[in-house]
């Protein structure tokens, strides 16, 4: 399956970024083949609705699950409406390999609701 992790630079070995809408980039991983691609986050330049834009980007990339440190309410709503699985990266785990391993072993918590009060329009 195709999963995405928010990362701090558009490189496939960059550490995880705890933010979703304002994450620097996304690492898209095919868990079957192990192939990885880094995609810059187009929402970084957005004056408003960064979470919505970032969520749309992942939906358009055909991602089925997302791992990030936090989800704003709008991003959460969009991703959930598209049926993506939303998982929380523990703050201390920055390495992608470790996150993928935890994801595959079912050790990551699901973000059942938005995890921050709302980046209003930012």
């Amino acid at each position: 399956m195709k999963i995405a992790i928010t990362i701090t630079a558009p490189q496939t070995d960059a550490p995880a970024d705890p933010r979703f809408g304002r994450a620097a980039a996304f690492c898209v991983i095919d868990t079957d083949s192990g192939a990885r691609e880094a995609h810059p986050n187009p929402a970084l330049e957005a004056a408003s609705g960064a979470g919505v834009r970032a969520a749309q980007t992942l939906i358009d990339l055909g991602v089925e699950a997302v791992i990030s440190g936090a989800y704003g309410p709008k991003a959460h709503q969009v991703l959930a409406a598209a049926g993506l699985g939303l998982y929380l990266a523990p703050a201390e785990v920055k390495e992608l390999d470790a996150l993928i391993e935890r994801f595959q072993s079912g050790a990551l918590a699901r973000a059942e609701t938005a995890t921050n009060g709302g980046h209003a329009h930012a």
Partner: protein, 295 residues
């Protein structure tokens, strides 16, 4: 990392003077913690006037894009004038042009122009800055006079602040907020841990305090209140006390009217540093000890 924003609703209640004094107090004494300051009042950026920091970094701020009509391609059909909802298309002697002050960059005209004559062009709206002040780094910005997208520039300042605080291990970010309740305020309060609302006892101060508190409540941000020039109108101050009780909010400071506050501003100093024994300084020191407990 804790982020505290200083707000007011109404302008001119003393937000910036209080912020400078709190920055001074937060970095003094045995409980001092490494601090970072952010000025998010980007169209009236006054914190630097008190702190007189040394500038380290400056970047143009491209706030967004505005439409541009290519006169060589324009067929003068006037469709754009009809469809623009922001009154941003103006008729000129030889066709149509964009009023960039009114254009919101929605690009509706770009997509609808039958001649394909309109494009979006990036527009500079101001600059973002990093400086070093006597109380720690200052992240700030200047919105170009009359420019749009102040909310996005505030977001940029917040990002600079957060990034630098993380990098340098600074435990507190003190944010000087903008007046009002609109876009820049929303951007300034997003994701903060606590807001201190500095109000004044005047009727307008009370009125705008309510709107500021409604806004904070809307975004789920805990608020504390402080009355500046509290002795100017006793009844007004009691009305604010009453309001705090009704809303279940804590009033944690009363700063008396004190000419030393203006003197300090003129001298480019925090009032607590210039005149530590003045009535305002003592009240702000008491305010800080209450705030520090809650951070």
């Amino acid at each position: 990392m804790k982020q505290l924003v200083i707000l007011s609703g109404k302008g001119g209640t003393g937000k910036t003077s209080v912020t400078a004094a709190l920055a001074h107090l937060a970095t003094q004494g045995p409980l001092a913690k490494p601090l970072l300051l952010a000025d998010t009042d980007v169209d009236a950026a006054n914190l630097e006037l008190v702190l007189q920091p040394e500038r380290r970094e400056r970047h143009d701020f491209i706030g967004g894009a505005v439409a541009w009509i290519n006169p060589d391609l324009c067929a003068n059909c006037g469709d754009c004038l009809e469809l623009c909802r922001f009154e941003a298309i103006v008729e000129t002697l030889d066709g149509y042009a964009i009023d960039t002050r009114a254009c919101e960059g929605c690009a509706a005209c770009v997509y609808q122009c039958p001649a394909g004559a309109i494009e979006l062009r990036d527009e500079r709206n101001g600059e973002s800055l990093r400086s070093a002040s006597r109380y720690g780094p200052l992240c700030h910005a200047h919105l170009d006079p009359g420019a749009d997208n102040s909310g996005k520039l505030v977001t940029r300042v917040r990002e600079l602040a957060r990034e630098q605080a993380e990098r340098e291990g600074r435990e507190q970010i003190l944010i000087d907020g903008p007046p009002g309740i609109g876009c820049p305020v929303i951007a300034a309060v997003t994701g903060v841990d606590l807001a201190l609302v500095v109000t004044e006892p005047s009727l307008s101060g009370q009125h705008d305090l309510q709107r500021a508190l409604d806004t904070l409540e809307h975004f789920g941000i805990p608020a504390l209140i402080c009355i500046n020039k509290a002795d100017l109108y006793a009844q007004g101050a009691s009305a604010i006390e009453q309001l705090c009780r009704e809303r279940g909010l804590e009033l944690i400071g009363r700063i008396p009217f004190d000419a030393e506050v203006t003197h300090a501003m003129v001298r480019g100093e925090a009032v607590t540093a210039l005149a530590p024994h003045s009535p305002a300084s003592q009240a702000i020191a008491a305010l800080w000890s209450e705030l520090a407990k809650r951070l």
